[in-house]
């Protein structure tokens, strides 16, 4: 029998997550190389991804920290994968990433961005995915959507608002609750 260690348990990131992960958001210098909300890559179409995380009462989660991990525009992951981190605005709750539209990284899967959400009151980070409305055919054929209801699918598809800007609101709880994954 193989002996397996136990994963260290999660605890909430709490309301002061900015100190260690996004010091520039509280008026301190960012550490060198610390990831921010902007991805520079010439592999794909530049896009803006923005939205608000809502709690079960519909209020914006103003202390959220979000991270994205995605393929580059050519669908390459591993060392070519792209990562960024953003924090919600203290006033509006809006988060905003600048990135490129990912290419498909796995056969049969629609292009998407992996998105993690951390905040006070979130005991273990939530993992969701952002898909794109223009990929409707690929999404329809993607096996990862097979067991989701149409309403649940819709929570994972960003809305194109203007130009190259996509809106992706997250609902932590309630009738419009975003689908969260265990991967």
């Amino acid at each position: 029998m193989r002996e397996k260690l136990f994963e260290t348990p999660s605890q909430t990131a709490g309301p002061y997550v900015h100190i260690g992960t996004a010091p520039q958001s509280i008026g301190r210098p960012a550490l060198s190389g610390q990831p921010g909300p902007v991805i520079e890559s010439d592999t794909g179409a530049a896009i803006t991804l923005e939205g608000v995380v809502h709690d079960g009462a519909g209020a914006p989660v103003r202390d959220a920290m979000l991270e994205i991990w995605q393929a580059d525009g050519d669908g390459r992951v591993g060392p070519h994968g792209l990562f960024a981190r953003a924090v919600a605005d203290f006033g509006s709750g809006l988060y905003r990433f600048q990135t490129v539209k990912p290419g498909p990284h796995a056969k049969g899967h629609a292009p998407h961005i992996a998105l993690l959400i951390f905040a006070r009151g979130i005991n273990i980070h939530l993992h969701t995915r952002v898909y794109f409305p223009e990929d409707a055919d690929r999404i329809a054929a993607d096996p990862d959507f097979a067991r989701l209801s149409p309403e649940a699918r819709d929570t994972l598809i960003a809305k194109r608002t203007e130009g190259e800007t996509y809106r992706f609101d997250i609902h932590l709880q309630g009738p419009n609750e975003t689908v969260f994954f265990d991967i």
Binding site: R2, E3, K4, L5, F6, E7, T8, P9, S10, Q11, T12, A13, G14, P15, Y16, V17, I19, G20, T21, P23, I26, R28, L31, G33, Q34, P35, D55, G56, A57, A59, V61, E67, W69, A71, V77, G78, P79, G81, F83, F90, A106, L116, A119, R120, G121, I122, N123, I124, L126, D144, R147, L172, Q173, G174, E177, V179, F180, F181, D182, I183
Partner: protein, 240 residues
């Protein structure tokens, strides 16, 4: 070549999303169960943040924000090893930390606790694990602080940690506590974890052998990240 999957996360060894003793979780916990998916090359890889150089004082919170002297408080080393569930060391793990100062106050615009700020302390640090997965911080022991939950609850002394291993599936954010702190069993955030043996995995141990004599106490805290399924049978070495 396809890397093997990581073990599924054992959700019983983590706090549930909904833990009403911690009031903030009530409106922020999803009602629906998580949707289980197969891992792809995206989740099996991750950003190589631990391969970028970090500043020489990033791990030293006593000095890294100093203006005219060392940060005030009980000087400690915080050290340990980053391992995966297979007990394999994880090199190049990026560990970011944040914490209150010795008086229990955060250097954060949203912290209104009346305890004083320390002008020589920001509470922000980071380091990268070495080839054996070992990491080291030097800091001051944070103070406990009150927060509104059931009236004035008190947080035990704790340090927040954010860890990146090799794969995005290994992502982890948590908090560590200090051995012997009587506030640990009273804390609603600690008690989001219902099982005392699981809570115990978040407790850093006093390690007198690794103290810096006449300078710093030492606390040891090992970190375990998700491990990859093993593709072939491995025997444990004799005596291990």
């Amino acid at each position: 070549m396809t890397a093997p999957d990581f073990y599924r996360r054992d959700r019983s060894a983590h706090p549930p999303a909904y833990a009403p003793g911690y009031k903030s979780s009530v409106l922020r916990a999803p009602f629906r169960p998580l949707h289980s998916l197969e891992q792809t090359s995206l989740e099996r890889s991750g950003p190589a943040l631990g391969h970028a150089p970090v500043g020489p004082l990033d791990h030293d919170l006593i000095r890294n924000a100093a203006v005219d002297g060392d940060a005030l408080g009980e000087r400690i080393y915080l050290f340990g090893q980053v391992l995966d569930e297979n007990a394999k060391p994880v090199p190049n793990a990026l560990i970011e930390v944040w914490q209150a100062n010795a008086a229990g106050r955060y250097a954060h615009v949203k912290d209104g606790y009346l305890a004083p700020l320390d002008p020589n302390f920001s509470g922000c640090g980071r380091c990268v694990s070495d080839a054996e997965g070992r990491y080291l911080f030097r800091t001051i022991k944070p103070g406990p602080y009150p927060w509104p939950n059931n009236g004035s609850d008190w947080r035990p002394a704790h340090i927040h940690l954010s860890i990146f291993g090799e794969a995005f599936t290994q992502r982890l954010v948590t908090q560590l506590y200090f051995e012997g702190d009587p506030l640990i069993p009273l804390c609603p955030i600690v008690n989001t974890i219902p099982d005392a043996t699981v809570i115990d995995r978040l407790v850093a141990r006093l390690d007198m052998r690794n103290q810096e004599p006449f300078d710093c106490l030492a606390y040891r805290f090992d970190i375990v990240l998700r491990g990859q399924r093993q593709t072939h049978f491995e025997t444990r070495p004799e005596g291990a």
